[in-house]
């Protein structure tokens, strides 16, 4: 009996928020206060997003802490299903519910890396150097191998010596930009995960 926080004790407890909380769960929740632990998402910013894993398309709510003030980098503290979505109604699978571990992950890449021919390691490189080097390589290849006209003299404007893949993990808009990117260069060899 001494272990039961009964209603009277609850009402007397100064640590407890006031006001009745009878929710859609159909349960009077007032006595269920756990004073020991603050709700970890009580002070978060919520952002609506969509799970990046499979194509069920579950909506998620990303809870971040940190107000983006000058020295504050927001960080994800929790990700949970979005109850508004008719697809998942707040539910998520084992992968989706642990998306925080994907975003906040010490294995994430955080700077551009370069591997020189014959080398056995990555070396950090600045973005500017990387872009300059990559652009030069692309242009050299394109200038050397671009096919304006095929054997029959027909205009084909293609770059057969560069292949490109990707996009299935990215948004429509990026995929659209990818199509401009590859047709700009003349790349035909292009596939995404739907091929596999």
């Amino acid at each position: 009996m001494g272990n039961t926080i009964d209603r009277r004790q609850f009402l007397q407890s100064s640590a407890v928020r006031a006001g009745a909380v009878v929710t859609a769960l159909g349960v009077d929740l007032r006595p269920a206060i756990a004073a020991a632990r603050e709700l970890k998402i009580s002070r978060t910013t919520q952002t609506n997003s969509v799970c990046p894993y499979c194509a069920v398309g579950c909506s998620v709510i990303i809870h971040t802490l940190g107000d983006k003030a000058r020295n504050v980098h927001p960080t994800v503290v929790h990700i949970e299903g979005d109850p508004d979505s008719p697809v998942n109604r707040g539910t998520l699978c084992s992968k989706g519910i642990s998306l925080k571990e994907f975003v906040v992950n010490d294995r994430r890449l955080t700077r551009p890396l370069h591997r020189a021919p014959g080398s056995s390691e990555w070396k950090p490189v600045s973005w500017d150097d990387a872009f300059a080097k990559m652009a030069r390589l692309i242009k050299d290849t394109r200038d050397r191998t671009f096919v304006e006209k095929d054997e029959q003299g027909r205009e084909v404007n293609r770059l057969p010596s560069v292949a490109m893949i990707g996009g299935c993990t990215d948004t429509n808009e990026i995929n659209y930009l990818l199509s401009k990117f590859r047709f700009g260069l003349g790349i035909l060899s292009y596939e995404n995960q739907s091929r596999l």
Partner: protein, 793 residues
């Protein structure tokens, strides 16, 4: 998906075959459970493994990997034989009454028109018999011996329950039981759905397999019906959107890539704008010129003018019969024919077939650019000898690999906005929650800065064929890092004069006055704003059509072919389950897959097809108008139907030194690869939670095989194919049954994917084993049903 996730809850029967939604789409599977709860729906699972979907199913039938066409063909036979098909639907909404030209035939594994020397078909005999105006002739009674119906009936007469059992390895009784449930939906008041995934697409006869499923569903009157359809459960968040935006053979919106023989835009439009095959065919692809010209305007802006064919010449063009698909370009790379390779978030060393060949191909590159969240096996392929050497005995040291590689850190989903298209074709907008870590950047910035850097070099130095590059429109407010909202508005399309956002593809013009990045997405960002970000909860039909939640292509239509859910009078086959009905003046319910103001009798229900009706007989596929059971490229038995033509005669197979195929003598067991619910693809091996749920690679094998080989659960086994090997502990189970096939016992082995030589948890790459054999229509590799040997390591 023709119907979408939420609609699955309307089904009476759910056939899960070639997929495992309980494990791989658990949240989508909730609608299966809802159908069972709400409608007492029956869940039928047909799969090589008694998996977690089977664990909660009403019926489970085991089968041999790669024999799905036999099973489905058997169902078609069963439906016809027992008169279980939906006769009125078949007559109204399919090409069953169409007459096929004289000369069409199937014998000894080949359709008519086979050219043994060229190893391909002349499809002339697969065409409809047409009248003077070019319209197909029909027999509404379906009795003409050359009617599609009669030809189909004859074709599948061979697929008796006994024949199915002999091929698939289940018993004829098991087949009949499953068939009775599945074919019970061939009535107006019942609907059945099919859920499939890579278990159907990863075959050397994949497209035919899905065609068979579509045929079955058409026979049962389930296409267009709520709770019906054939529903592909796609495996990546935006694999649908990525496909919608084109691949090597498609421009955005499934416009075909121009070929070298189509020198001008007119040539292209002539070749790609179909003519109606029936008087009542709406033939919506007849609007191709509007879609294409608007796309060219979006691509080339002011450089696209009527006079220059809207800069059509800038689009790269393959030769008429050339193929630039996955199998082909990696083969070319392997032969040293490719210098540069760019990967935006893909990991071909892990997910492509035949990893030893893949590694070899990448090592021939001059340069490679990989944009990723994590270091992948592809990015670090040059280190494979050190990291995964045991499995790559012939792969070379880094010092011998001259590929210059860049690994660029990209923002992840939470750090970017933009839209993903789910399996239901819903475009769901997401918002960025935080900036990327460290020096990582969003993909659009990486791509744009690279593109602009190349373009600057051309502008400064000149070079070969600068026009396609310089004329490509990149005129965004911030070209170095375009706002995805701005890009999304361009994709939706607008009037060039005045800039009004279009309401839908109906407003597109072929005179250059509109631009549109992808016609099927037109309507996603109108003057009313971002339709993809809508969060409306209402479901007016009560059928799980949420018209105001996000936006669905095309035209916010949630159930494709929904006109077919209604009869000739426009009234629903099932009055209690009708997504669309004609009230005498207009169509009500879902956005009609039909001309909105046309009467029920005006057009055929399948407006995208020149026939105006759905195709049971489809001449577009390369290996025949009717699907036929062909064995996988590597098979434990010769095809019981025609031993001389065992596997798909049109399958794409390579024959280089690293492309070996194995035979049943050396590699007696059938292997399948698949995902587990614990992991997502090759990503979660980097993630702590997935690593905990299943830390170890393993090989699943039947108890009987294990005991014959003296293997106990946990023993390390080695699995070998003609390409390579993997090693790991054995999971010995009753859940994979030995099968009796063509008089012999066939064992199947299950090998989950998910591990690799880089990650928080590591294990062998299963694609060390898989063959470079592909479906000829779609180019998907055969990961289900290849041959291996197994021994205790």
């Amino acid at each position: 998906m023709t119907n979408g996730w939420t609609d699955v809850s309307n089904a009476d029967v759910i056939l899960v075959m070639g997929g495992n939604p309980a494990e791989n789409h658990p949240v989508g599977f909730r609608f299966v459970m809802e159908a069972r709860r709400k409608r007492k729906a029956k869940l039928v699972v047909v799969d090589p493994r008694f998996n977690r979907t089977a664990a909660v199913a009403d019926s489970y039938t085991p089968m041999r990997a790669g024999t799905d066409i036999a099973f489905l063909g058997g169902l078609i036979h069963y439906a016809i034989e027992n008169k279980l098909y939906h006769d009125e639907y078949v007559k109204l909404h399919t090409n069953a009454p169409f007459l096929v030209k004289e000369g069409f035939d199937f014998a000894e594994g080949y359709f008519s028109g086979w050219d043994g020397a060229a190893k391909k078909y002349d499809r002339a005999s697969w065409q409809y018999e047409t009248d003077a105006q070019g319209f197909a002739k029909v027999d509404p009674a379906l009795e003409h011996p050359r009617s599609v119906f009669q030809l189909m009936k004859k074709h599948y007469a061979r697929y008796t329950p006994d024949a199915v059992a002999n091929i698939c390895g289940c018993t004829a009784e098991e087949f009949r039981k499953a068939a009775a449930v599945i074919c019970s939906t061939g009535r107006a008041d019942r609907a059945g759905t099919i859920l499939y995934a890579l278990g159907w697409t990863q075959h050397s006869h994949a497209v035919q397999l899905i065609h068979t499923a579509a045929m079955l569903q058409l026979m049962l009157g389930n296409i267009g019906m709520p709770g019906g359809g054939i529903n592909a459960q796609r495996g990546h968040a935006n694999i649908q959107g990525s496909t919608d935006m084109g691949s090597w053979n498609n421009l955005p919106g499934y416009l075909k890539i121009p070929r070298a023989n189509m020198a001008t835009l007119d040539d292209y439009l002539k070749a790609n704008t179909p003519k109606p095959l029936r008087p009542n065919s709406l033939n919506y692809w007849g609007n191709t010129p509007k879609f294409m010209v608007s796309l060219l305007k979006a691509y080339y802006g002011k450089h696209a003018a009527k006079e220059n064919g809207f800069a059509y010449g800038n689009i790269p063009k393959p030769g008429e019969t050339e193929n630039y698909g996955w199998g082909q370009f990696f083969d070319k790379m392997h032969k040293g024919g490719i210098e540069g390779f760019i990967s935006f978030g893909m990991n071909p060393v892990a997910n492509g077939p035949n990893t030893p060949k893949m590694l070899d191909a990448l090592s021939k590159l001059k340069w490679m650019i990989v944009v990723e969240n994590f270091e992948t096996e592809t990015a670090a392929f040059w280190n494979a000898k050190k990291l995964g050497g045991k499995f790559y005995p012939t792969f070379v040291d880094p010092a011998q690999i001259q590929t210059e590689a860049f690994l660029l850190p990209a923002a992840c989903f939470a750090e970017k906005d933009g839209a993903f298209v789910n399996s239901s074709r819903w475009l769901q907008w997401k918002r960025a929650a935080l900036p990327p870590p460290g020096d990582a950047k969003p993909d659009q910035e990486i791509m744009s800065r690279l593109f602009l850097a190349v373009r600057d070099l051309y502008a400064k130095e000149g070079g070969k064929a600068p026009a396609p590059l310089l004329e490509m429109n990149w005129d965004y407010t911030n070209p170095r890092n375009p706002s995805l909202e701005e890009v999304a508005r361009e994709v939706n399309g607008r009037e060039i004069a005045g800039g009004r956002q279009l309401n839908g593809f109906g407003e597109l013009k072929d005179d250059g006055s509109t631009l549109c990045g992808n016609w099927i997405y037109s309507g996603s960002w109108t003057e009313a704003g971002n339709m993809m970000a809508r969060r409306g909860q209402d479901d007016p039909t009560g059928l799980g059509i949420y018209p105001n939640w996000s936006w669905s292509w095309p035209a916010n239509r949630r159930i494709l072919y929904n006109r077919a859910a209604a009869n000739a009078q426009g009234q629903g086959w099932d009055p209690l389950r009708t997504p669309l009905r004609w009230d005498g003046e207009r169509w009500r319910g879902d956005v009609p897959d039909y001309k909105a103001d046309a009467k029920p009798a005006d057009y055929g229900a399948f407006i995208m097809l020149p026939e105006g009706v759905a195709k049971l007989f489809a001449a577009d596929l390369v290996e025949g108008p009717f699907p036929e059971h062909y064995e996988p490229v590597e098979s434990p038995v010769p095809n019981p139907l025609h031993t001389n033509v065992s596997s798909n005669p049109m399958a794409t197979v390579f024959h280089g030194p690293l492309d070996k195929l194995g035979d049943a003598k050396s590699y007696p067991y059938v292997a399948i690869t698949y995902r587990l619910t614990e992991h997502f693809h090759y990503w979660t091996k980097h993630v702590a939670s997935g690593s905990e749920l299943q830390s170890n690679f393993f090989v699943e094998l039947p108890e009987e095989l294990a005991s014959a080989k003296g293997i106990e659960g946990g023993d390390i086994v080695r699995v070998t194919s003609a390409r390579g090997s993997v090693e790991g502990p054995a999971l010995v189970t009753k859940r994979i049954r030995p099968l009796k096939v063509a008089g012999q016992t066939v064992y199947q082995i299950g090998i989950p994917i998910h591990w690799g030589f880089i990650g928080r948890v590591r294990g062998p790459l299963v694609n060390n084993l898989t063959p470079s054999a592909y479906d000829p229509n779609s180019g998907t590799p055969e990961y289900k049903g290849f041959l291996v040997n197994l021994e205790k390591a």
